[in-house]
């Protein structure tokens, strides 16, 4: 018997829950939680049903993390939210941007990525947080993270914190900007992992060399059943990495280019929970001044079933014209049903879903604030 699906909808003005029945036909919106708060990410804990963490701040109030143990009925604020060390010329944490539950063998562990770029860890289920100093104080941090003032709109961010399901000490992080980095010792030491990724906004590297860091991954995902397979939606394309290899392969070049408009730029990438070769992306317009809207006003999801060798446009049910939203990097996710449900939230406050792996789309909610995150519970 398939279980019901809850979607946690993080927005610029608060958090909502969109609850679907087991058939995913009837949906009910509840909330807002934290009305007026900028909620960048809200994530349910797959290890502990009912536990949800939400990263929030407001225009005035500084950043914090809220935790619910009862599916969002009540919330408690972290006693010690993520913060950088107090020190001369120290960094100031603007907001928590990303939340990741830790390894299944460490049920009290969570990771958080921040703006400006920082990695934080909680060992007590989100109540208190400490910096992962192996990264935050790394001797090359300033090189890798760059100048925060030169970061993307909304701030230079650390995101896509990935934990290898085979090894709690094996972590990946990504930074916009900065690139993707790997640790095999629980965050004590790090190595860049960007070979093969384009960085069109940097000068061409000398022949035979490559940019070790400075890239702009928008979203990186690791397949839970095939953890050696990673996918990356980048500022400059879509890439796949098969470990133990260390060179990313460009799979975005295989996307169709209707009317000669490239479709390999976007924010999210979402993986099929069982098939490592199936993934979904949501292209955005990256022509001339980078409008960052649906290309030509015709939004579409693209899906690959062969690891990015070929792609199918999936726009049935979506607006056919004059629709100018896009989808942020945390705002597309998939459930574990068969067939898989795929969901995305738009910058125009709509939640769309498909119960057949993207073949047909239905609007599940509208009139919400700008959506930053859609996560399945």
């Amino acid at each position: 018997m398939p279980r019901s699906v809850d979607l946690w909808i993080a927005t610029r003005k608060g958090l909502w829950k969109l609850a679907g029945d087991a058939g995913r036909q009837r949906w009910s919106l509840s909330g807002p939680h934290f009305l007026g708060h900028i909620v960048h990410h809200a994530v349910a804990d797959p290890r502990r049903p009912g536990v949800v963490l939400a990263a929030a701040r407001t225009g005035h109030l500084g950043p914090t993390v809220f935790r619910s143990a009862d599916g969002g009925q009540t919330w408690q604020e972290a006693e010690a939210p993520p913060a950088f060390p107090s020190e001369p010329n120290g960094r100031v944490l603007d907001h928590v941007f990303w939340l990741t539950p830790g390894h299944s063998s460490e049920p009290d562990v969570w990771y958080a990525g921040s703006v400006p770029q920082g990695l934080f860890r909680s060992d007590d289920d989100g109540r208190t947080w400490q910096g992962v100093e192996g990264f935050n104080q790394h001797p090359r941090y300033r090189d890798w993270a760059g100048d925060p003032a030169e970061g993307p709109p909304g701030g230079a961010k650390l995101h896509s914190v990935l934990v290898d399901p085979r090894d709690a000490a094996h972590l990946y992080i990504s930074m916009s900007s900065g690139g993707t980095f790997e640790s095999r010792d629980r965050g004590a030491s790090w190595q860049p992992l960007n070979h093969g990724v384009r960085a069109d906004f940097l000068p061409e590297p000398p022949p035979g060399s490559y940019h070790e860091y400075g890239h702009d991954p928008h979203c990186v995902q690791l397949h839970p059943l095939a953890p050696d397979r990673l996918y990356q939606q980048n500022h400059c394309g879509i890439f796949r990495l098969d470990r133990p290899g260390d060179t990313w392969t460009d799979i975005g070049a295989n996307l169709p280019t209707p009317d000669s408009v490239r479709h390999d730029i976007g924010f999210p990438v979402t993986l099929h929970p069982r098939d490592p070769d199936t993934l979904w992306v949501f292209p955005m317009d990256a022509t001339d001044v980078w409008p960052r809207v649906s290309p030509q006003g015709r939004p579409s999801v693209y899906r690959s079933r062969d690891g990015g060798t070929s792609w199918q446009r999936l726009d049935s049910g979506l607006p056919a014209e004059q629709a100018w939203f896009t989808v942020k990097r945390q705002a597309m996710s998939a459930d574990s049903h068969d067939p898989v449900g795929v969901y995305f939230g738009t910058t125009s406050g709509e939640v769309w879903g498909s119960t057949d792996e993207g073949e047909r789309w239905t609007c599940l909610a509208r009139y919400l604030p700008e959506i930053y995150g859609v996560e399945v519970s």
Partner: protein, 87 residues
């Protein structure tokens, strides 16, 4: 001293907008005291480097005070204001 708080932080004080507290020597000390009474309040207003966050202002006896270490007069009225912060 008397403390006047904006609505933004009243979720921490149980809805209370005005507090009477023992005199604090500085704004830094005042927020340490406030955090002891209302855990979590300080970090929402004061960052980890000890500075007031950009859209808050503190007025001491009606005059803006930007120095967190400036000496506060005995019996001062400290008004925390949530200033403009965008849409």
């Amino acid at each position: 001293m008397r403390i006047l708080l904006p609505t933004h932080v009243q979720s921490y004080t149980g809805g209370t907008a005005e507090l009477d507290l023992p005199d604090a020597p500085t704004l830094t000390a005042l927020f340490t005291e406030l955090d002891a009474r209302y855990p979590g309040l300080r970090f929402r207003v004061i960052d980890e480097q000890g500075a007031m966050r950009p859209h808050f202002k503190a007025f001491v006896n009606g005059e803006i005070e930007r120095d967190m270490q400036a000496a506060l007069p005995a019996g001062a009225e400290v008004m925390l204001v949530a200033a403009l912060s965008g849409g």
